[in-house]
Amino acid sequence: MAGPDLLEVVDVDVALSGRMVLHDVNFRIDHGEFTGLIGSNGAGKTTLLRVLLGLQEVVRGRVLIHGEPMTRSNSSVGYVPQKVLFETDVPVRVRDFVALGIDGHRFGLARRTRQTYELVDEILDSVEATPFANRRIGSLSGGEQQRVLIAHALVSKPELLLLDEPLANLDPGSAQEIIQLLHSVVANQHVAILLSAHEMNPLLPVMDRVVYVANGRVASGTTDEVVQPGVLSSLYGHHVDVLRVHGRVLVVAGDDDHDGSHVADHPALVIE
């Protein structure tokens, strides 16, 4: 008999400042799966990630890791935040910053061991960040910083890695490199990934499942199961068409009377 899923979100409602922002959220993630958390800006993706980190209380429902209730700072979960602005004068090398992923929450006088730095170097190598291991974190480019943040999250050996909009503000080349890097992390380290983005097309080649957020509600499943007119129309509350062109997905909002359609201002939209 199979054990519990790595992550299980069951009947979760979330409110911010008294306003319900997520209703009846249900989805699962299993070991080694690459899941896209797709939704427009303000849809509630970051709030949902904060729930999974134990930083946001839920009004109703449960979040389970290995079948057990989620606790704050669970070592099974790694996190890459949406935006970290490293000041240029922060006197912290990349190696030391990644090491904080192991001991940054610990109090005490203990010094770091050689084993800690060996692990750090191994992780930096796995995300191809070794060439800038001794540079200040504030001196790195956006793509380099993303690699370092991923290394920081991976160094504590999590089973699930949450990434909040890691592709935002990256040029297409750097974004593609980060996606391939994360794909190799899933394949080689068997880490499950939940990556939030407002655009799903760059993720289509690597995504096993999608969790689609709109109007405070969530649909989850494989891309083919979720990204179809019936499911998305139900989520958005009005008619939506899904077009597939050269392997890309275009989600187009149609008028309810079907007298035509126009391009919707929402996440999965692609015009190329």
Binding site: P91, V92, G104, L109
Partner: protein, 301 residues
Amino acid sequence: MHVLLEPGLFSNDTVRTALVLGALVSIVSGVVGVFTVLRGQSFAGHALTDVATAGGAGASLAALSPLAGFIGGGVIGAGAMDAIGVQRVKDRDVATGVVLGAATGLSALFLYLITLQTTTTGSTQSILFGSVFTVEPSTLPDVLVLTALVLVGLAVIRRPLLMSSISPELAAARGVRLRAVGIVFMVMLAVAVGLSAIVIGSILSTALLIGPPASALRVSTRLSRALLIACAMGVAATWLGIVFAYDSYYWFGSGRGLPVSFFVVVDVLAEFVLVSLVARRRRRLLAPFGRGARPDHVGWI
């Protein structure tokens, strides 16, 4: 003609006490100051100096130890700032400004009351601008213990403190209790300001707290080096200030010396300007190698 380091200078008990006191205060200010600058709490540090002024003046009125007044006032001020919301970036300036305004008003009242009690301005001058040559040697053990407590405390919380200074969001996700770490740090900051106040005065203690750390951060790639450089620069500025102030008794033939705090602040400023020039030259040197790059054959720290 006399020499700057006249024979017997270091056998003078007053000078020796001042030098030891200056070194201890510079070290604790340097270490706390590096984290203060990293956390963007320089304004909060400055506000605590005004709170320390009120504490020092209050202690003087009540005939208590000035050190106890400086530190007590600072700790109360740190608590007030935390209660208002100094930990939250958007509320930081508001919390600091409210406490700063209240403390300045209280200082004005206490200092006025002091002038009613005495006919000289010595106490006011001493509270605001320090008088390291008048500190009793019996104060040294207290300063030593407080310095040790702050340094050991900071060493214990250094990683969560650094993590929360770099990215509060990442730190919270790793389970760091941001508020608890922030409060502990604010108390250490208040103690550092109080210690510094007895050497260069409450008003000018910002100079030791911010100047050497800001200089150190401009040229250090590692935290440990930034801490060492900040401490070394602080000690150098304070010791030079003490020596110059002692020597200034001979400068104008009036038999009166210039204040130590003036020389310390000038030294701190000179260090900052010098380091900024060196850092700028270094950046120009490295520019051809790319952003943030440092080739192996070019090294300074």
